[in-house]
């Protein structure tokens, strides 16, 4: 059951990534290129997604249990520490260099381009490497 509900949620999520055009690094880089031919699409995608998900977060935060009775663990909303700032900074540089973040990167594995596989292998290595350095898995 947990597998099936997550599978369906994943289908919606992946379909959204595909329709939004965010699997094409050119669209992502066009948003990040404020001083070129700027295109605001990414903000619409991210903002639209956050707005659509907000009621569910509001509801579940009060309820503390999922509709199927699962315990809910939402992360800290206020802690702003050095790993957060450093990690987000590093992620942004990699994202700016490639135009690919982890979600779209997953879908790009299906593009059958070697670069996508190399990128995702390095991403996986980076996740494991940083996981060894920190003790806060999420």
């Amino acid at each position: 059951m947990k597998f099936l509900t997550a599978l369906f949620a994943g289908i919606l999520f992946g379909g959204g990534l595909l329709i939004s055009g965010m699997t094409d690094p050119a669209n992502v880089l066009a948003f990040l290129d404020l001083f070129g031919e700027w295109r605001p699409q990414l903000a619409l995608v991210m903002g639209g997604a956050a707005l659509a998900a907000a009621p569910a977060f509001l509801y579940i935060r009060r309820r503390q249990r999922s509709l199927l009775g699962e315990a809910v663990t939402l992360s800290d909303r206020t802690k702003i520490d050095a790993p957060l700032v450093l990690g987000a900074s590093i992620f942004g540089v990699g994202w700016g260099l490639s135009g690919i973040c982890p979600g779209p990167g997953m879908l790009l594995l299906l593009s059958a381009q070697a670069t996508a596989w190399i990128f995702m292998a390095a991403l996986g290595a980076g996740l494991l490497l940083a996981g060894r350095l920190t003790s806060s898995p999420r």
Partner: protein, 136 residues
């Protein structure tokens, strides 16, 4: 910007948000792709079913309709460097565009707002240097 691309962006965003909402409402989990990947790869706990389900589901639409032939970063050195930075950064910062940018903002998290503003800023700076900064 054409009206089609505006519509696609909004519809895509709505679906991404609906997927994140569904995972939270039914599974009680946050749809953060970097976190899900890290836990699958690191085999953190025995609870991998929902993670594998979500990752598999993500691929279904692309399997059916394809992802086209987007232009990816040229050359493997760039792919390795960028991939490593994204992996290390998202793990250290506990989230990526989905975990902080979508779910964190939906959860009205100040922590995620700060993370999102920072990775946007360094990404914009990086693109600026690559595209405009190195010209004579």
């Amino acid at each position: 910007m054409t009206s089609t691309s505006v519509l696609n962006s909004l519809l895509g965003g709505l679906l991404i948000g609906a997927g994140a909402a569904m995972l939270l409402l039914l599974n009680g989990r946050v749809a953060g792709v970097s976190g899900i990947l890290a836990n699958v790869l690191g085999a953190q706990t025995g609870e991998q079913g929902w993670r594998l389900g979500f990752l598999a589901g993500m691929l279904v639409p692309a399997l059916l309709y394809g992802v086209g032939h987007p232009l990816l970063p040229s050359g493997w050195p760039l792919a390795v460097i960028a991939g490593l930075l994204v992996g290390v950064g998202t793990r250290l910062g506990s989230g990526c565009t989905s975990g902080h940018g979508v779910c964190g903002l939906a959860n009205l998290s100040a922590r995620s707002l700060v993370a999102t503003l920072i990775f946007m800023a360094t990404a914009i700076a990086t693109v600026f240097i690559v595209r405009h900064g190195l010209r004579p």
